[in-house]
């Protein structure tokens, strides 16, 4: 049973620089685990397995929660699975402008994106977060990670996946979770994909960008898994932030790695 968003995972190689960037967007550190056991079951989801890794969870009111993952270095190209859309009063001064066409989103997908966001975003490369992302101007809204675009070559399959994960669409094409708790809210925009240089369709937890969407779940040890997560999947137990948790990692046929975080204490 999916309860809400746990976090969007950002791969990074300089966790302090990435943290400073997010603090600039109003985020605060929720917890920090510098030498957390990296369960061996995660090996298939990584390019290069390390026995320990560093995770740091950050949250900001009105924005999607983020977890920074440092697996000892970034490997390969940016994950095309999720492209973050940040919101703030102005773009960061050190961001490098990119064309929207550089993203793995087709022209049709960009139209859907603009429709869901209510405006056209701008694209930038962020050296602190080591990824290319999108940005929209905040008009009185909370700054931070507002939504993620979900490029897909099979919109029908992606929509089915989101439905099984208990996301619901609004009229504009923005999919969100049915929760009144802002901290558990996630906003996703499925968009038609295209191949783009510098982006990989094979998401890895130690790749730049966002390869993984983590959701809070209950009863993952006894309730049936959504059909879309029935394929490649591993589960293991791990204390996270002092709470025993059952972690399930699943790689659907398309899209990001889905992590289910089930706190058992």
């Amino acid at each position: 049973m999916i309860m809400g968003l746990s976090h969007v995972a950002f791969g990074c190689s300089d966790i302090e620089a990435a943290t400073a960037r997010l603090i600039g967007f109003g985020y605060a550190v929720r917890f920090d685990a510098p030498a957390l056991e990296n369960h061996a079951a995660k090996t298939p989801f990584l390019s290069r397995y390390q026995p320990k890794h560093h995770i740091r969870a950050l949250s900001a009111e009105g924005a999607m929660a983020i977890e920074l993952l440092d697996h000892g270095g970034l490997v390969g190209e940016q994950a095309a699975a999720l492209i973050p859309v940040f919101r703030s009063l102005a773009p960061c001064p050190d961001w490098q402008a990119r064309a929207l066409d550089d993203l793995p989103i087709s022209a049709e997908g960009l139209k859907s994106l603009c429709n869901a966001l209510g405006k056209a975003p701008l694209a930038f490369h962020d050296p602190a977060l080591s990824m290319t992302l999108m940005w929209v101007a905040a008009t009185g809204d909370a700054p931070g990670l507002h939504a993620c675009a979900l490029p897909t070559a099979d919109t029908g399959a992606t929509v089915a996946l989101l439905g099984q994960l208990r996301f619901r669409p609004d009229a504009s094409g923005l999919w969100s979770l049915l929760t009144p708790l802002p901290a558990l809210q996630a906003r996703l925009i499925p968009v038609a994909a295209k191949q783009a240089a510098g982006f990989s369709d094979d998401p890895r937890l130690d790749a730049p960008g966002c390869a993984c969407l983590a959701l809070m779940a209950r009863g993952t040890d006894r309730l049936p898994m959504p059909d879309a997560l029935q394929g490649h999947r591993v589960s293991f137990s791990l204390p996270v932030n002092g709470k025993d948790s059952r972690i399930t990692l699943a790689q659907p046929e398309r899209g990001p790695i889905i992590e289910l975080v089930d706190q058992t204490t």
Binding site: M1, R30, R166, L178, T179, P180, L181, P182, A183, K243
Partner: protein, 476 residues
């Protein structure tokens, strides 16, 4: 007794769609039935951590029409806590006094307004709480403490267990045909019995979703029907005052939205004339009910064959006893646990003697004739003020008014017509006197008085005892 509370939440947990929707603020907020238990168990964790409140504790809870209030109510039910409900705007000192009087663990605030000294319930904080697993709540565990108006003395705390709400809701839903296909709008004030029982617990007991809207007011009356239409509401509760405002302020084409099928009226007496006018205008019969804070629902009218002027037919297993001179006595399986007196529960047992004079017709319909303590004894003749008000309504032109008795040296009590705002012109009062003279019985109107504002309860019902006290103190 089976574990009614666990069964209630188990039924809701099977519902994937929203069972609570809050449209009272700027943001629309939904809670799916499947997620409800998780939210309530997190809220229980928050109450324990921030307010020190655990199972068996009493808590003073400031409520308004918000999702936070609904979730706090349900969390208390699921985790065996007792809530003493207070309206938003209650002075912090009064809350503290109440906390001391009932030996409550904490004061919590489930409203959007700040309350000094209270622990605020914020949904955004629930995300970081670890859910507390609920234990079985023993039968007859106190769940709510609501207070009488206090217009006739010190307010009394009425203590209910969850079972009385759940069994009464089941009987009501069965009699009125309310099911999980219905969708309720709750505009009743949620610090008050009608707001938590009629508006939240009873619909949810039928697995019917509830849309929580801002408490009813003149401002919200203007957008009442559009809200009913937009939210595809099929059932709701109004007080007679609210019903009257809905009619008077309606600027739509008087077409009831297609989903709407049950309009229940409670917390006060609706005149037969008002019910008929509403029915004629909208084609939907307003269904009068009768209930008491101590006993919950007693009776409700039938949608298929409404009997305006009555308060409907008693629920199953509710036994009524009344005579021409004796107030109504009621034996109900849904009765309260007792009154809270000096912080201790004074258990209630047996039939409950009301202050209402009533009759039961041959068909079984219940007529409430008025409160025995409101009856005016004028020159040896009993005068029922509700009866006079019904007769006067057509000539009062929608103006708020009330008939009360005041002490009189010659008559014992005189009959006084009290209006709100400026006093009646002599011709209008003469016309009112003529109506009463022509009315069956031997009543007469002796005097007119006026007050700036008639004292009313949370649902608009006039507080006669408070009005009598006002006039006796020279408030006119």
């Amino acid at each position: 007794m089976p574990d009614l509370i666990a069964a209630f939440f188990d039924r809701l947990s099977r519902i994937e769609r929203p069972v609570l929707t809050d449209i009272s603020g700027g943001d629309r907020r939904d809670v799916a039935g499947a997620d409800l238990a998780d939210h309530l168990d997190r809220l229980a964790a928050m109450l324990r951590r921030k307010a020190g409140a655990c199972r068996g504790d009493r808590v003073v809870a400031v409520f308004d029409n918000t999702l936070e209030s609904a979730l706090t109510l349900l969390a208390a039910m699921r985790h065996g806590m007792t809530l003493a409900l207070q309206p938003v705007g209650t002075a912090p000192d009064d809350l503290k006094r109440l906390q001391a009087r009932i030996d409550a663990r904490a004061v919590i605030n489930a409203t959007r307004q700040g309350v000094s000294g209270a622990t605020t319930i914020r949904l955004q904080d629930l995300a970081t709480e670890t859910p507390v697993k609920p234990a079985t709540v023993p039968a007859r565990t106190p769940f709510t403490i609501t207070f009488t108006s206090g217009s006739t003395g010190v307010p009394k705390g009425i203590v209910h267990g969850a079972e009385s709400f759940l069994t009464c809701a089941e009987a009501f839903n069965r009699q009125t045909g309310i099911t999980g296909h219905d969708r309720f709008l709750n505009v009743m004030p949620m610090f008050y019995m009608a707001g938590i029982f009629n508006g939240i617990l009873a619909p949810l007991a039928a697995s019917a979703p509830v849309v929580i809207a801002e408490g009813f007011s003149t401002a919200t009356a203007m957008r009442f029907w559009p809200t009913v239409a937009t939210e595809a509401i099929s059932a709701l509760w109004l007080s007679p005052t609210m019903l009257s405002l809905v009619m008077r302020l309606d600027r739509t084409d008087k077409t009831v939205p297609p989903a709407m099928r049950r309009l229940f009226v409670g917390t006060g007496a609706m005149t037969a004339a008002a019910a008929e006018q509403f029915h004629r205008t909208y084609g939907l019969p307003p269904l009068q009910s009768y209930g008491l804070s101590e006993l919950l629902y007693i009776s409700v009218d039938r949608a298929e064959a409404p009997n305006f002027g009555t308060v409907g037919y008693p629920l199953d297993d509710v036994v009524l006893t009344c005579g021409a001179e004796d107030p109504l006595s009621i034996a109900s399986p849904h009765a309260f646990l007792g009154y809270l007196v000096d912080g201790a529960l004074q258990p209630h047992d047996g039939p409950f003697l009301t202050s209402d004079l009533a009759q039961v017709s041959e068909s079984g319909a219940l007529y409430v004739l008025g409160r025995a303590d409101d009856i005016i004894l004028r020159g040896g003749v009993n005068v029922n003020p509700v009866d006079l008000e019904t007769a006067l309504a057509p000539v009062m032109g929608g103006r708020p008014f009330c008939v009360i008795g005041q002490r009189d040296a010659t008559l014992g009590q005189k009959v006084v017509l009290v209006t709100e705002g400026p006093g009646l012109v002599p011709a209008a009062f003469s016309e009112a006197q003529r109506v009463i003279r022509d009315h069956p019985g031997r009543a007469q109107l002796d005097a007119a008085a006026h007050v700036e504002k008639l004292p009313v309860g949370p649902t608009g019902k006039i507080r006669r005892a408070a009005l009598r006290a006002m006039l006796a103190g020279g408030g006119a």
